[in-house]
């Protein structure tokens, strides 16, 4: 009899993903789904989807799900978690959603020490609306609203979200990861699991920032997009644990 070597996680529904080839969103969905199953919390989880390419995430995770207004997912998650403290709540947000329109909501969720988990997809661009500049877009990076490359004089330097969030006293766990190869993928999975464990242990706000590809927005084929993460994103956005109240750095 054939041996099952790989199965789609029970943490995902059968709804076909809507992401482009080579996009990191699908990979990160898988890490979340597997983590929820392995931690045995899938059935008591509630996913909060953002506005962005992952707007339909509430259809993809095999648990309760809700769609939030652009940037407001952390406030929605706060309302759900505070009224259901024994359930597992997470937001899934892009960098336009979290680092631009939703800065107030994300900072104050951490500030209050809200006990939910945030998965933050940093692909240095607005994917859904057609590749505009994000707060995370690199200096010199060309986008549809920075056609000559992002200029520091007018747009500032890209926002270092994990570093910023780690400064907030009640943030419990903050890590930045990448999913560009298997070794990093495994590390990313550990981080996602750790973040959910932080929530399960009632330690407070947890966030994992994932450096992600957007081949369409970057105008690069998938393989080159993956390389672009290593050569351009990783040097500016150092990977690592920025805050961990539960353990050593």
């Amino acid at each position: 009899m054939a041996k099952v070597v790989y199965e789609k996680s029970r943490g995902l529904t059968d709804v076909p993903l809507t992401y482009c080839p080579g996009c990191s969103h699908g990979i990160v969905h898988k890490l979340i789904a597997e983590s929820l199953v392995e931690l045995d919390v899938l059935d008591k989880s509630i996913a909060v989807a953002p506005v962005g390419c992952s707007v339909l995430a509430y259809e993809f995770f095999n648990c309760d799900g809700i769609q939030a207004a652009h940037g407001r997912a952390p406030a929605v998650a706060c309302g759900i978690k505070r009224t259901n403290p024994d359930k597992i709540v997470f937001t899934y947000q892009g960098d336009g959603d979290l680092a631009s329109i939703g800065t107030a909501e994300i900072i104050h969720a951490a500030h209050r020490g809200d006990n939910f988990t945030v998965i933050f997809i940093n692909n240095a661009i607005y994917g859904m609306t057609g590749g505009q500049m994000a707060p995370t877009t690199l200096i010199g990076q060309k986008t549809s609203t920075s056609p000559y490359g992002r200029k520091e004089e007018s747009a500032g330097r890209p926002l270092l979200v994990s570093e910023m969030m780690a400064q907030i006293p009640n943030a419990a766990y903050i890590e930045r990861v990448s999913v560009h190869d298997i070794a990093h993928l495994n590390k990313a999975k550990k981080a996602v699991k750790k973040a959910f464990q932080t929530q399960i242990d009632n330690k407070g706000f947890s966030m994992v920032e994932v450096l992600a590809t957007c081949p369409i927005g970057w105008n690069l084929p998938p393989v080159e997009a993956t390389q672009w993460v290593v050569e351009n994103l990783m040097p500016y956005y150092p990977l690592g644990v920025y805050k961990d109240v539960g353990g050593a750095q």
Binding site: K44, I46, G65, A69, V76, I80, T83, E105, H108
Partner: protein, 365 residues
């Protein structure tokens, strides 16, 4: 037994007694007593109180708590309600029950902290983007504030819609005797909620999104069928126009009480007028204007605004009577004698009268 209570406190305590389990707010005058009250009482009653980072945060927390199936409320005043509009539109689009209170002040912009009724359009026309309405209750006494909170939660639950209570700052600040009558919440099925129980039932999802035009259109049609039911069953109006009254004066909220005094004053002079007081401003009681006594010759609308409800009155009157308007704005509150003077003006050719003290807002429509 009656107690003496401020409108803002009455709204807060009524909400808790109506089963509100989560309150999210942000400081703004003249509603600060409400979050302050909740911050004390939620601790005692085991509910959730959060002072949000902004009104935007607060309404989205309400969106989350409502989605999770609990009775939830947020309160604010005019500029704060403007900020909540995106969230109210999302709650309407996702059919989530919740209560929003606007203790209104004068505008536009920062305006001032004095009472006004200039948020009528905002409250009755949806306010945010998209096709939707928010059932809106406009109490005129502290007692009615109390009763309306229970009602607003029930209507929200019954029809799965955000509802609004719209009062002017003075009612929030005013102390009046109050009978704290309690009514049990209506029983509704909330098996649709996202409270993380997917193990025990099929998973639930809540969204206002549909990428298919026909599907979204059907969702909107369904919501408007619900609105038709609300119009049919939930429209509330107090109609005190009697046979012999020549003028029907339309006013809502606390200003309607000033109108009552004006009507008394006119009666002493042998002029008969009666009050029509919409209690729901959406749905608006349009029909009331089609069955008035034969003696009625004029309609006067009195508002603390430059004239907003007057547009609904004209729709209801539909050309049957001349519709006149009297309004004060910017936080100025009209006195009974201004209203009675306006009625005299309407009934007699204006040149026979000394000019009214207030020229502003006298335009006829």
């Amino acid at each position: 037994m009656k107690v003496l209570m401020k409108g803002n406190d009455a709204i807060s305590e009524a909400a808790i007694q109506a089963g509100c389990k989560a309150f999210f707010g942000y400081p703004i005058t003249p509603q600060n007593e409400i979050p302050e009250y909740f911050s004390r009482r939620m601790e005692e009653s085991g509910g959730v109180f959060i002072q949000a980072e902004s009104e935007v945060g607060a309404i989205n927390m309400v969106y989350g708590a409502a989605a999770a199936g609990v009775r939830t409320m947020t309160t604010s005043s005019s500029p704060g309600i403007a900020l909540k509009q995106e969230g109210i539109s999302f709650a309407a689009g996702a059919d989530l029950p919740c209560v929003i209170v606007n203790v209104a002040r004068c505008g536009p912009g920062l305006g001032g902290i004095l009472p006004a009724q200039s948020d009528y359009f905002q409250a009755t026309r949806g306010g945010g983007h998209g096709d939707y309405y928010t059932p809106t209750f406009a109490p005129s006494t502290v007692q009615e504030c109390w009763d309306m909170v229970f009602h607003a939660f029930d209507i929200a639950d019954k029809y799965r819609t955000p509802t609004m209570i719209l009062i002017e700052g003075m009612l929030g600040q005013m102390m009046e005797p109050l009978e704290m009558t309690k009514r049990p919440p209506i029983k509704v099925d909330k098996s649709w909620c996202v409270d993380g129980n997917a193990g025990k039932r099929p998973r639930n999802t809540i969204t206002s999104l549909s990428l298919y035009a026909e599907v979204l259109e059907e969702m909107n049609f369904a919501r408007f069928r619900k609105y038709e039911e609300i119009k049919k069953h939930e429209t509330m109006v107090e109609n005190n126009v009697k046979d012999g009254d020549k003028v029907a004066i339309v006013a809502y909220g606390t200003p309607s009480r000033i109108v009552i005094n004006a009507i008394e004053e006119l009666k002493n002079d042998g002029i008969q007028a009666g009050l029509i007081r919409p209690i729901t401003v959406w749905p608006f009681p349009y029909d009331v204007f089609q069955s008035l006594p034969a003696s009625v010759e004029h309609i006067l609308v009195a508002e603390l605004s430059m004239g907003q409800m007057v547009e609904d009155v004209r729709l209801g009157v539909n050309g049957k009577y001349p519709v006149h308007f009297y309004g004060r704005t910017g936080g100025v509150i009209f006195e009974p004698k201004e209203i009675s003077q306006k009625v005299r003006e309407i009934l007699k050719p204006a040149r026979e009268l000394p000019p009214a003290r207030v020229e502003m807002g006298r335009g006829e429509v």
